[in-house]
């Protein structure tokens, strides 16, 4: 049954929260400034609670079940993170308070900058960017400004492998730079010959995701970085896939100059149904003066203070970043330490390789790079032999009937019918086996009863939705029933 729309629940005169009367003498409000109408709903508190609780039951989260959504790192979100982030000493502080009154919060930010620098092998970190995409934008602006400072302001191109997330080219375009796409070679690495062909004195830098969106570690990464540096370029490392390599290798040691972190992926902060995230950016020493302002410093007297980097690209948002998200990620890192983080990455990679091996054994779902060990994720294809009319979308929708969240589908774009699977380290072998069993059954169904897949899901809160209708005549707001 469809849930009532919030305005349908409204009844004139109801109010969900009572507020005290004014304790000061009232000042008349000029009538000509008042709006004639305020079309908001009117509900009691119990109406509000029931409405949203019912809606929540139509959602699938990591706490509901297995969520192997490739490139999104849907790991379990420890509950202690929620408690620490809700400490009143963190939630009830204003971002513009005098630093002497918020030393605890600034200490946390300072230590977080340090820990991320250590994990990545970079020299300085800003916590300001709101999300991964904004971190990328920040990183590209930093590279651009650094090239200008080097007297290389004529450089205007960013090289991006064809397997990259769409945010890479979008962030580049927003920075006023041009995108040049580089093909991947047969092994899924950056094609070195192609790279060389494009490396000239118009290149600001290269953006590389390593491990790549194919789930593969680029075997030539050191050579790639060397070539780019030789040509006067900088290397941006998209940190989307950091979960595979914590304590295994540091991007900075490989030659990466700037990278962003996705605290909402790697460091277990919840995705919130699409946000908030947090996308800190780390850089090598040469780029530190260009970081967004302010960063947290420690004075000689031992006080934490706001510091404006000398040639900062500026602010990328209000205040100091998504502090509430950073508290959660800080809690997570402190609970793990170096040993724990390495174990996280090892198990993330082990789990992914186990699933890849099981799928290869099964044989129904091609794995284009199955001849290599994958990192924390791998890309299979929804091309089941003997079931030609079945597409990845059908398989994904059928998985919903087995109470799983489907993997990422149709990404990366360079793999047709892609099914991108990322189990994460927080899942047990039994869970992985259960998912493989479901895929096995679905492959059989695809051959014996394809209609069952075409019309899936059958046991979800709604059936397949008409996206064409939504886009042709958009209904994006309603204020009546």
């Amino acid at each position: 049954m469809a849930d009532d729309f919030i305005y349908e629940l409204s009844s004139p005169g109801r109010v969900g929260v009572a507020l005290p009367d004014s304790d000061v003498p009232e000042t008349p409000i000029p009538a000509d400034t008042l709006r004639p109408e305020l079309p908001l709903p009117e509900l009691s508190e119990v109406d509000v609670v029931r409405h949203y609780v019912r809606l929540s039951t139509k959602n699938y989260g990591v706490d509901t079940g297995f969520y192997p959504l490739g490139s999104c790192t849907m790991k379990y979100n420890p509950k202690i993170n929620e408690q620490t982030a809700r400490l009143p000493g963190f939630t009830n502080i204003h971002p513009l308070q005098d630093p002497v009154t918020v030393q605890g919060a600034m200490q946390l930010l300072y230590e977080m900058q340090d820990m991320l620098a250590e994990i990545s092998g970079l020299d300085a970190v800003t916590l300001q960017p709101s999300a991964g995409a904004q971190g990328e934008f920040t990183g590209v602006l930093i590279m651009r400004k650094a090239q200008i400072a080097r007297g290389q302001g004529h450089r205007d191109k960013i090289l991006i492998p064809d397997s990259a997330h769409g945010t890479n080219p979008a962030s580049t375009a927003m920075s006023g730079l041009h995108v040049v796409e580089i093909a991947s070679d047969a092994d899924g690495n950056v094609d070195i010959e192609q790279l060389k062909a494009h490396l000239d004195d118009t290149v600001v830098g290269l953006m590389i995701t390593n491990p790549s969106t194919l789930g593969l570690f680029d075997q030539n990464i050191v050579e790639v970085c060397r070539l780019v540096h030789e040509a006067g370029g900088l290397v941006y490392g998209d940190g989307a896939n950091l979960n595979a390599i914590m304590g295994i290798v540091r991007p900075g040691d490989l030659g990466i100059d700037v990278m962003h972190f996705n605290l909402h992926k790697t460091f277990s902060t919840p995705h919130g149904g699409g946000g908030p995230g947090s996308g800190p950016v780390g850089v090598v020493a040469e780029l530190a003066p260009f970081l967004p302002a302010p960063v947290v410093g420690l004075s000689a007297e031992g006080e934490y203070e706001w510091v404006w980097p000398a040639q900062s690209i500026g602010r990328v948002r209000s205040f100091h970043g998504n502090f509430g998200v950073i508290v959660r990620a800080y809690t997570y890192i402190r609970m793990h330490g170096a040993v724990g983080l390495r174990r996280v990455s090892e198990d993330a990679v082990l789990n992914a390789n186990y699933m890849q091996a099981r799928l290869l054994e099964l044989g129904d779902y091609p794995v284009p790079h199955g001849d290599r060990y994958c990192m924390h994720e791998f890309v299979a294809q929804g091309k089941i032999a003997g079931a030609e009319g079945i597409h990845t979308l059908d398989i994904a929708k059928r998985l919903i009937d087995f109470d799983y969240h489907p993997p990422t589908i149709y990404f990366p774009l360079i793999v047709p019918e892609a099914l991108m699977i990322e189990p994460t380290e927080t899942e047990s072998k039994e869970t992985l086996d259960g998912f493989i069993a479901a895929l096995t059954q679905i492959a059989d169904e695809a051959r014996s009863d394809p209609e069952l897949l075409h019309t899936a899901p059958h046991h979800a809160p709604t059936r397949r939705l008409d996206e064409v209708r939504a886009a042709r005549q958009p209904i994006l707001a309603k204020t009546s029933a």
Binding site: E467, V468, A471, R472
Partner: protein, 132 residues
Amino acid sequence: MSLNYPNDVRYAKTDEWARYDGELVVVGVSDYAQDALSDVVFVELPALGDVVAAGDEVVTVESVKAAAEVVTPVSGEVVAVNAALEDTPELINTDPYGEAWFFKVKPSDLSELDALLDAAAYEAYNAEREDH
């Protein structure tokens, strides 16, 4: 279902068609293009009076999952646009060579039409693309 390749238009490798009516060149997208896009949900047309050069991206066509830029195969001035597409973009799926024309250009260089493919050559070109 097989795709249509009418003989009264010429085709660009980027999937536009052009029809010269003795005065103006009418431009649309091919059956192959609409099939690849699937259900079209939105079209953004050029403005009347725009002066365009062959190869310029002048129209955007969107389906739910994809967006395609349509280039004009000929240079000249845009003298008519098919406003009906703004409300009923699905015409592109149902009648790509007829009701779903995009715009009309007063051509400045008719020889540009010679660079386009005839129906047989375009069909062969598509068959080759499908093999890859």
